[in-house]
Amino acid sequence: MRGAPKLLPAARAPRWAELVVLWALLLAAAVAAAFIAVYALGADTQWLGLLLGAAFALLAVGAIVTAKALVPQEQKEEERHSLDHDREALDVAVYVQEAEEGITRSRLLKRAAGVAGLTVTGALLVPLASCGPFLDVQQLRRMAWQRGRRLVDDAGRPLLAEEIEVGAMVPAFAEGVDRKRLDASLLVVRLEEADLRLPREREAWAPGGILAFSKICTHAGCAVSMFRFPHYDVNVPRPALVCPCHYSTFDPATGGDVIFGPAGRPLPQLPVAVDERGELRAAGRMSGPVGPSWWGVQRG
């Protein structure tokens, strides 16, 4: 039989290779599970990157060792002809079977591969939860602010109304609330009272021209960290809060209306009041939901 493949019994794969593959797959599964745990605990994102990278590296080790050491590497070349001869077909079948027999614990390895694949896929899908609540969007309307809660500065000291001069920009937080909450961060600014053009129902929200706004842009959720305030107002833009990400620009004088940029709704305003000690306190709830817009939000 000219040109027939020379079939050799497959060489038995070394035992260490199987162990390496097995351990690589199981470790990949463990690391991916650790990724999910770290994500759930809300720890540092650098750990997330490290763990996901390690999971992929371990999968890669498993795949490389499988390919190099477990699967027979013999290459056969022949001129193409049909396998119509029964004996040839049988030979090939036997060869394929023997190749698999080279792996002594193929079921165990397959299961390990399954476990690793599922966990890593899980690790890839779990962060979708960060896209926001899918079922209960009402929780986005629950707020850190309620009437009477004090505004504190970066160092945790209560903000005093008299310390905020006209033209000042003061980052503020809700007292006693986790600062990582989106709605805990405020930007407090002070304009001349005469320059305010607040809607009628918000006239009492800005004692002495002190205005408090959510620091989170309603477009993509960046921190609105820029405040432009002209000290001489001829031929210059009027005071505005500006988001550094996409330059959404909000007019504090009118209660946070969008005057430029991609934001679709006004910056939520917090009504403030000055108590008998001169400290700033929330006088109610924010004028709208805090944070980037989602499908539950149309207008302020």
Binding site: A168, V189, R228, F229, H231, Y232, Y247
Partner: protein, 232 residues
């Protein structure tokens, strides 16, 4: 006779001015067309300077932002100072006599870099970027801070030039001001660049471009090498 006296006066005046620059005269000659002969301002042209004080005058004159170059638009931009130092001193003295805050004192050596970075991130970085490269706000260009002396920096913090908000003593106290100045001296003016290359220090955009263009190119080259080997 009177004519002669006038002529003599005209000849003598410039001579005395050269010896000891007179702030009020310089003001009338160089600033009054917008700010008025009495520095009370001219509607639609320039603001009243009573109460602006030495801090604002020194900042605007020393950084060449005033006299305003109308060709570059409304925002005063940094330029070569229009006056020599002794004339600036005289002008600042004159404007200080109209009332207002003095030139703020700042001593970076008394600050703390870590406090400075924290305060810089809180108050300054929104517009000027964390590496002080400057940026854009709608309607104005926050300038880079690399050329600023500590005193100019302190003046800007207290005065709030153009669209910048002013930060008072109660918001940024003396220690914080010293620390911000130290941060600018140590970090903004000589960035650490641990990776060896700052990529313009303007944050994620050039970093992303380097990742895409350079790292992407390198990956392509590696893929090509692997492909070549497989051909053999």
């Amino acid at each position: 006779m009177r004519r002669l006296a006038l002529l003599a006066l005209l000849l003598v005046l410039p001579a005395t001015a050269a010896a000891e620059p007179n702030g009020r005269q310089l003001f009338v000659a160089g600033c009054a067309s917008c700010h008025g002969f009495d520095a009370r301002g001219i509607p639609e042209k320039g603001p009243d300077l009573h109460g602006a004080g030495a801090a604002a005058a020194d900042f605007y004159l020393r950084t060449g932002r005033m006299p305003l170059d109308v060709a570059t638009g409304e925002q005063p931009l940094r330029a070569e100072p229009a006056y020599p130092p002794e004339e600036i001193r005289a002008l600042v003295e004159y404007l200080a006599s109209l009332g207002g805050p003095p030139i703020p004192e700042v001593r970076p050596e008394r600050g703390n870099v870590s406090d400075g970075q924290h305060a810089f991130a809180t108050y300054c970085a929104g517009c000027h970027q964390i590496m002080g490269e400057g940026g854009v706000v709608t309607g104005a260009i926050p300038p880079p801070l690399k050329d600023s002396t500590p005193t100019e920096l302190a003046e800007a913090v207290r005065v709030g030039p153009y669209l910048m908000p002013a930060f008072g003593e109660r918001q940024i106290d003396q220690h914080t001001l010293d620390s911000i100045a130290l941060y600018v001296e140590r970090v903004v003016k000589s960035p650490p660049d641990r990776g060896g290359w700052g990529i313009g220090h303007i944050g994620p955009i050039p970093e992303g471009m380097v990742a895409w263009l350079l790292a992407g190119g390198a990956l392509l080259a590696v893929a090509r090498i692997i492909g070549r080997r497989m051909e053999r």
